[in-house]
Amino acid sequence: MYSDVDRDALHVRAADAAYPIGTGAPRESYLNAARIIAVAKRAGCDAVHPGYGFLSENADFAQAVADAGLVFVGPPAKVQRLLGEKTAARRLAREVDVPVAQGTEPLRDAAAARDAAKKIGYPVLLKPAGGGGGKGMRVVARDEDFEAAWRGATGEATAAFGAPALYLERQITKARHVEMQILADRHGKVVWLGERDCSIQRRHQKLIEESPGPSVTQELRAKLGAAAVRIAERAGYVNAGTVEFLVEANGIFNFLEVNTRLQVEHPVTEMVTGLDLVALQLRMAAGEPLPFRQDEITRTGAAIECRITAEDPFAGFIPASGRVALAREPAGPGIRVDSALFSGMTVPSEYDSLLAKVIAYGRDREEAIGRMRRALEEMRVAGIPTSLPFHRTALYEQDFITGRYDTDFVARWDPKKVLELTDGAAASAALAAVLAQRSRAERRAVATADDPWARTGREDALR
C-alpha cells in the first residue's frame, strides 16, 4: 500500500500488488487504520504486517485488524497497550526485578512536570508515555528551557502518535544504548537472540547499530537476555520485539522500554544469527511454535548497520528533501543494502528521512568495519545532502574503532575534521568543481567523449 507521494517508490514497484490508500499527509494514508484495513480486505489478505513506523506500535490498530478477522503480525492489542504505555512498562519491569531509571508517571501539565524535574534533578528526559522511535523526546538541562521543551515534545508527540501525554525520566549520560532482540511464539515460549548496541544517535534516533555490542560481556549479555525474557513472559508477549536498556560504564543497566515491533536495525541480528526475522514473524503470527530452543541459537561474527538518511550532517543533521540525481549502492562480500534509493526518486518531506541501510558483516568486528568503510566509499548519492559524510568519517574515529563510544558520540563528531586529499584527487576535484560550475551556468554539456579535454588526455597518455 502507498500514499500518493509514494506512487513511484521502490516498495510499490517491487510488490506483487499495490494499493493506494490516500494522500501524502500521514493521517490520510499510513495512519488511517480504517482505510488500511479496507484495502487489506479488498486485496484478500489474511494478515497485516505493520512494518516499523506509523501504526506499528498502535494498540488500537492491532485491535482493529483483529476485529476485522485479520491476523496482526506483532503482539496483540492488550500487550501493545501494556508495554506501549511507557510508565506501565516501567512498573512491569520492576515487578520482575529488572532495574529502571528514576522517573515519574504521566504528567498533567508543564507546571507539574517542572516540579517533578526539580525533584529528580536536571538533566531530565521528557518522553511521550505512548510512542517510540525518539519522536517527541526532549532532554531538558535547565529549568528555564522547560517551557519550550514541553511545547515541542507535546506537538511532536501529538503529530506522531496522536497521544500527547508526557512523563519524565532521569537523564543518564555517558551511557550506552543496548537492546535485546526477543522472539515469542503463541504457545508461551520466549527466546532472546542477542543484543545490538545503538548508542550512536542524534535526536534520539539511531545512526549506527552493531551486534555484538563491543562493551557487552558474555555475563552482561546473559543478564540482559534473561531480563528481556522475564519482561516478555510477564507481559504475555507474542512475536518479535526489542527490550531496550541503558548500560552505564560500570555495567549497571536500567530498563528503558519495549519496542513492540520489528526494529529498523534488525538486519544486524539477522547477520550474526543467520535467522530471517520477518519470516519468523510470519510463522509466529500463523501460530507455529518457535523452531529452535534458546541453547540452539548461535551468534557468529560481527555486523554493523549504517542508516543513510536524507539529512545534512554539516548543518546539524537537518532533514533534506528533493530529487536524488544519482544513486549507486555498494555490494561485495558481507555487504547487504536494504534501500529505498534510486536515481530520479523524490524524497518526500512528509515522512522519515531514512533512505537506505547499509549492513556489513565480518568474521570479527575488524573485518566488518573494513568492509563497511569500503562499502560507504563505494556508495554514491547526489542531488540532496545525506548522512554519508558522517558515516564515512565515524568509521575512522578512534572511539568507534576501539568500541568505546557512548550516546554522546554524534555530539562530539566534528564536521570540520577533514581527510587530507592526495594531490591528484585535489586537482581532479578542483577541475570537476570548475566544470560543474560552468556546466550549470551554461546549462549545457561541457565535456563529451570527443571534446578537446578527452583528446588531449588520451594523446598525452599514449606518449
Binding site: 500521514p26 519522536k135 519550550a148 515541542g152 506537538g155 511532536e156 506522531a160 554539516f314 537537518i318 532533514p319 533534506a320 528533501s321 528533493g322 544519482l326 518531506s349 515522512y351 528521512s353 566509499e377 556508495m379 554514491r380 548519492v381 547526489a382 542531488g383 540532496i384 545532502p385 545525506t386 564515512r392 568519517t393 577533514v418 581527510l419 586529499l421 592526495t422 591528484g424 584527487a425 585535489a426 586537482a427 581532479s428 576535484a429 578542483a430 577541475l431 570537476a432 568543481a433 570548475v434 566544470l435 560543474a436 560550475q437 556546466s439 550549470r440 554539456a445 565535456a447 571534446d451 578537446p452 579535454w453 578527452a454 588531449t456 588526455g457 588520451r458 594523446e459 598525452d460 597518455a461
Partner: protein, 164 residues
C-alpha cells in the same frame, strides 16, 4: 579563465585553456576528462590515476571525491576582482527562511514584536519532526509572510527581523 577553488581548507588555483589543457598552480597538466553523468559526475584520469568526482549538491557545492566528502567553492577571476575591497556590510535585516519544505505549524510572534536572540519565531513540521526556528539576532519582527497551518516551500522566507 582562471579560478580559485577551495576544497575544505585547501586552496587550488586552476586555469582552463582553450586547447583542453589546464594549468594547476602554474603547472600545465593533461587530463582525460569524461562527464559520466551530465552536470553531475566526472571521471578524470590524471597522470595515470583515476578519480571520480560527483557533485552531491550545487548550492552549497559539496563534492564526493573518490568516496570522500569535500566542501568546495569556486571563484572565477571576475568574481575575484569584484570581491576585492568589499568589507562586511552592516546587517540591515535578517530573513528567517524555512530550511526545508514542511508545514508551518505555529508562529510564536506577531508583526511588531521585539524578540530576544534565540527566541522561537516559528515551528516547522517536516519529516515527522517539529523544528523550532529561532531568532538569530535580537530584533523587531517587521514582516510575517505566511499564516500558521500553511504548507511551505524549502527556502521560503517566513519572517523578517530588523536588528534592535
Amino acid at each position: 579563465m582562471r579560478y580559485e577553488v577551495t576544497l575544505d581548507d585547501r586552496r587550488v588555483r586552476i586555469e582552463l585553456g582553450e586547447d583542453g589543457r589546464f594549468t594547476l598552480e602554474d603547472r600545465v597538466v593533461a587530463a582525460d576528462v569524461r562527464e559520466t553523468v551530465r552536470g553531475r559526475q566526472w571521471s578524470i584520469v590524471l597522470e595515470g590515476e583515476s578519480h571520480e568526482i560527483t557533485v552531491v549538491t550545487h548550492d552549497p557545492l559539496r563534492l564526493d571525491v573518490d568516496g570522500h566528502d569535500v566542501r568546495a567553492n569556486v571563484i572565477d577571476e571576475r568574481a575575484l576582482r569584484a570581491g576585492r575591497g568589499t568589507g562586511a556590510a552592516r546587517v540591515e535585516r535578517v530573513e528567517i527562511r524555512a530550511p526545508m519544505p514542511g508545514l508551518l505549524k505555529r508562529l510564536h510572534v506577531k508583526e511588531g514584536d521585539t524578540v530576544e536572540r534565540d527566541a522561537p519565531i516559528a515551528t516547522l513540521e517536516a519529516m515527522k519532526m517539529e523544528n523550532e526556528l529561532l531568532a538569530p539576532i535580537r530584533g523587531r519582527v517587521t514582516k510575517l509572510k505566511h499564516l500558521s497551518g500553511t504548507k511551505i516551500e524549502g527556502g521560503a522566507v517566513l519572517a523578517v527581523l530588523v536588528p534592535e
